[in-house]
């Protein structure tokens, strides 16, 4: 019986422990934000990596998400003559949910994994130790810029995704499925409130925090050579993705 509890309880304890460590890392990251040097150059470098370089993948996924949404809702709504609401449905789904979520998941795969791999490699090749010996704090030099850049760039990417998704929906709805263009746009303006967009962006900022913090945490704790780097990278993507979807539920429940 004790064995059983040990078996069931251990992962749970480990989970809580890991969660605590991530929170500690967050606190340490925040405390390094307010101390000079401010690493502006590093922050811009990371903003380029997280933001600019993610644009192509965000544009493609955003466009196709909007397009498929348009098709799906069209076939559903046609049954009761609601085709005119396709535009509004696409726009609401994109801004409130799919824009932030799809963007965060894509960026996790592209950026979160790269953070874990890069910092993990620096750990196992003693580059992080080298930073310490040069009196440079790796949390400030490596982690803080990545977290800040992710929190700032995820909302920007999400806006792009929202917009491109709606354009994609427009293309499919108006051009391919012959919904009246005026009505398509009018319904969007009628139904989508500013708060829908803003709340989606707030969510995306939280997702940016999660994916960068988890990626950096996993990378920073890497041990065991190349295999260890691989493990850290995989785990960071899995943990980030799951955490993003779970927190998405709770954020949505609270905000909308």
């Amino acid at each position: 019986m004790l064995r059983f509890f040990e078996y069931v309880g251990k992962p749970f304890v480990l989970l809580i422990e890991a969660f605590g460590k991530v929170i500690l890392l967050l606190v340490s990251t925040i405390s390094w934000m307010v101390r000079p040097p401010y690493r502006i150059h590093e922050i811009f470098k990371q903003m380029e990596f997280v933001g600019v370089n993610s644009l192509p993948v965000v544009i493609i996924t955003g466009a196709f998400t909007g397009m498929v949404l348009a098709i799906q809702t069209y076939y559903g709504f046609k049954m009761f003559g609601g085709e005119s609401l396709v535009g509004a449905t696409v726009a609401l789904s994109m801004t409130r949910e799919l824009g932030p979520a799809i963007t965060a998941l894509m960026v996790t795969g592209r950026v979160g994994s790269a953070m874990a791999a890069e910092i993990g490699t620096m750990r196992v090749t003693e580059q992080i130790d080298a930073l310490y010996t040069m009196s440079v704090n790796p949390v400030q030099y490596l982690i803080m810029p990545r977290v800040i850049a992710s929190i700032m760039m995820l909302p920007v990417l999400t806006i792009v995704s929202d917009f491109i998704g709606i354009v994609g929906g427009y293309f499919v709805g108006v051009r391919l499925l012959n919904i009246n263009s005026g009505i398509f746009v009018a319904r969007i303006i009628e139904f989508v409130a500013l708060s829908d967009i803003v709340n989606g962006l707030i969510k995306s900022a939280v997702f940016g925090l999660i994916l960068s913090l988890v990626g950096c945490y996993k990378g920073f704790g890497t041990f065991g050579g190349a295999a260890g780097v691989g493990r850290a990278t995989t785990q960071s993507v899995v943990i980030s993705s799951v955490s993003i979807l779970i927190s998405d539920y709770f954020l949505t429940a609270v905000m909308f």
């Binding site: 890069e118 490699t121 620096m122 090749t125 580059q127 130790d129 010996t133 040069m134 009196s135």
Partner: protein, 246 residues
């Protein structure tokens, strides 16, 4: 600055690496630590700069107990240090030039032009030319090591730790690096702690030699004292003979 290790013990997962080790490194001298591969030399060096904390015992740098300081104080003290890692530990996302400039940019207010001059000079000292724009991955192992050396010397530190500075270099380059260490020490009057496998170069550069064996310093003294040591382990190590424990 004086370096002192007092009753330092360190184990990794039950494997004892340092076992009640005592060592006093004289200030403004070159001390070479010799000992067999896997004997704990790198671990010892990392204790001196606070990268590893002892399980018990203490490490003093000057009057500060580095093994008990908080991160902030530790950072202050480390500004006196330069360290060459065994595998160089170059930042692989930066060019060679940026690697060497990194500690200078972090801790001084030199202009870009001044830093360029220092970087060039340090690279020249370690016998490298036209590599400033290369990435570490484009260099050979020996070249990486020398870039690491240039980076360790970039700020003219008061304490310099070298983890096998000449391993992997050709004989002529070995000699050049040995000379560089001696010259640097004479110039800056730094305290140098060098790990070496190479008996010849050890006797060439050392003011003092310490032999690490079984987690302890079993012999310490001038190169002559080590050369004529009666201790069979030391004798065999210097003669390059393998010893059986029985």
């Amino acid at each position: 600055m004086k370096i002192e290790l007092l009753n330092v013990c360190k184990s990794f997962k039950g494997q004892v690496v340092l076992d009640n080790l005592n060592l006093t490194v004289e200030p403004n001298k070159i001390t070479v630590i010799i000992g067999k591969s896997g004997g704990g030399k790198s671990v010892l060096l990392k204790h001196v700069i606070g990268l590893i904390r002892p399980d018990s015992g203490s490490v003093f740098i000057g009057d500060d107990e580095i093994s008990a300081l908080n991160d902030k104080k530790l950072n202050e003290i480390r500004k006196n240090f330069g360290m060459l890692f065994q595998d160089a530990a170059l930042f692989d996302s930066m060019t060679v030039g940026d690697n060497i400039a990194f500690p200078i940019r972090e801790h001084t207010r030199f202009s870009k032009a001044e830093i360029d001059v220092i970087v060039k000079e340090k690279l020249r000292q370690v016998g490298l030319k036209r590599v400033t724009q290369k990435m570490p991955s484009e260099l050979s192992g020996g070249m990486r090591k020398r870039v690491g050396l240039a980076r360790a010397l970039a700020l003219d530190p008061k304490i310099i730790l070298f983890d096998e500075p000449t391993t992997g270099l050709d004989p002529i380059m070995c000699d050049a690096i040995d000379r560089l260490i001696v010259k640097t020490q004479r110039h800056t009057n730094a305290t140098c702690l060098v790990i070496s496998h190479d008996i010849d170069s050890t006797f060439k550069i050392a003011h003092k030699v310490a032999m690490l064996y079984d987690g302890k310093i079993i012999e310490y003294g001038s190169p002559d004292k080590i050369k004529w040591s009666e201790n069979p382990v030391v004798k065999n190590f210097i003669a390059g003979k393998s010893i059986s424990k029985h």
